[in-house]
Point group: C2
Chain length 336, copies 2
């Protein structure tokens, strides 16, 4: 029996992860053998979708993570596994520095302190980001990044994520927690509505045209990105929760496998799936601020640790689009 | 005219840096031309030595850095240059996790916020440490480290230093501060009394025998270390303050040049300087906890960025001992 906690930021990853856990009903926590999921606590400012709130195993804790934990580790009581996914996204943090410091840095510090206060060293899966890396004139990115590449974030979001990685590694070294940091690739196709992430166009230029709506692409068609489908991202987080310490292989962050595609290749796949009428719904309106930020992000990885853990990238972008269409069309299926 | 602030932790580096600045009387701040040092504010819990307190340009601000800045950026008012040297040392932070989080992480966060609040983007020189690096079974250190080596600290002190580096880099990228992080090597021979740093023996096995006192060496004679004399450390900090942005070459940390020596080589130099009676004053009492921590520290660096800035390591350990003896013997000289 295990109590699982997920912190979410009103996004879809936390809800989707929760559904996958509840559907499985059990979990091989850190490779120690299957245990039934007795309780699932969802801490989310934005509230919890109805299907989850209606599950008898689910406790929804609405509110700000930092505020909730300031009063003590209450919502974490008895947790054997914590997924820490809550974060303010890159665009928000770049526009409002103090928001990012509070929502990403202080809230993560509070969560680690609360997890430590449990005294039981729960497994803590932390979703970091490839925004940990960044290209700058004085530190050009290597052509191919790997698990030893020096983080050089060019955004406050990336900086705060890297700091969380180091804090969690030290809490793990000290035996306070069993931390596993998974650096998620940019997720595409992200369901639902656009968010303030600078990478938002990497979903909206596919999602909106498939739904018959217009979308803005703020970057040049030659711009490349390292992407992963929602399904691959959830699998990476579950892998982090279920790997043995030995298989996980250290306290530092693991880069998840990603598919490297250009915007032009994404649009070509969209056309193959839905015809030229779909791609005609894209408005090409360059945004220099987004272009600058996105140009600093890495596009090509060698993900040796993830490969040893059995994780693989999406095979191609056509498969990503097909999966997105199947999910959004599935009758009776909760979406996102 | 420039107002310089130094935060210190009751150590000797801050006092020595202050003396060097006051003796020069002027400073080429960030390469923009010589300016007179009008004011020097020393923030130090342990108070300030008499010779400094008696200088008309010096303002001594006793107290805890975090507490002082909680009330606002007061002591930093008008500062064009801030040296942030205050820190709890490695041994303390390993023994008392919360102390390190407060004295190193929170106080640094408070200082960066206060420096940002000035609105004038002062130069902030941050002393980090080669404890940013660490050897672990899953992440063996490379034989030779360089400025691109991934920090993998194996102590809470090193973790907190790395986090400060990333915070300062982001404040610099945002234009809030002009940050320069210098990773100091282990300083030897450190004057004064032993402190709680796990590296303390790297000074005490020389300093105490030269003063006719016994010293304990907690590690094997074959143990190597990357060292720098106090003089080289001060020069590295001043270089960080005076380099142009272009010469400094980026927001990430610069590793200072260091001399790689074994304890056996240090003791041989001690014998050459003061005879076998001096080395006979060393008691060899292995301490597994210290040995484990020290064994995780790097010993050999290629310091390209520092070399481009004109910094060099001490030529040999005999020269380090000679300098220490000259300083401790100099009549009328304030020591440390």
């Amino acid at each position: 029996m295990v109590h699982v906690v997920i912190t979410g930021g009103g996004g879809f990853v936390d809800a989707r992860l929760a559904r996958r856990l509840l559907a499985a009903g059990e979990l091989d926590l850190a490779g120690a053998g299957l245990r039934a999921i007795e309780r699932l606590t969802l801490i989310d400012q934005a509230g919890v979708p109805d299907d989850l709130a209606g599950d008898g195993r689910v406790t929804a804790v609405p509110g700000d993570l930092g505020d909730l934990l300031a009063a003590g580790p209450g919502p974490l009581a008895g947790a054997g596994l914590i997924f820490h996914l809550a974060a303010a996204v890159s665009g928000e943090c770049e526009a409002d520095f103090d928001l990012g410091m509070r929502a990403n840095l202080r809230a993560t510090e509070a969560l680690l302190a609360a997890g430590r206060a449990l005294g039981t060293a729960p497994v803590l899966v932390y979703s970091s980001s490839i925004a940990a890396f960044g290209d700058s004139p004085d530190h050009p990115l290597p052509a191919i990044l790997d698990d030893e590449t020096l983080p050089n974030p060019q955004s406050s979001y990336g900086t705060q994520k890297v700091i969380g990685e180091y804090l969690l590694a030290d809490h793990t070294r000290k035996g306070f927690l069993r931390g596993r940091t998974m650096r998620l690739a940019t997720i595409s196709v992200r369901p639902g509505r656009p968010n303030a992430a600078a990478s938002g166009y990497l979903s909206s230029i596919i999602r909106e045209p498939l739904a018959g709506q217009r979308a803005v692409c703020p970057v040049d068609a030659a711009t490349a990105a390292a992407l992963a489908s929602p399904d691959r991202a959830i699998s990476a987080l579950l892998c982090a929760a279920t790997a043995t310490d030995e298989a996980w292989g250290g306290h530092s962050a693991v880069n998840m496998p990603s598919l490297t595609v250009t915007v032009a290749e994404m649009v070509a796949a969209l056309e193959r799936a839905a015809g030229p009428a779909a791609s005609a719904l894209i408005d090409w309106v360059p945004d220099p601020a987004v272009e600058r930020l996105v140009a600093s992000w890495p596009t090509r990885f060698r993900t040796d640790r993830a490969a040893r853990l059995g994780l693989t990238p999406d095979p191609d972008y056509d498969a990503v689009i097909a999966m997105h269409r199947a999910e959004t069309r599935a009758p009776g299926r909760q979406s996102p």
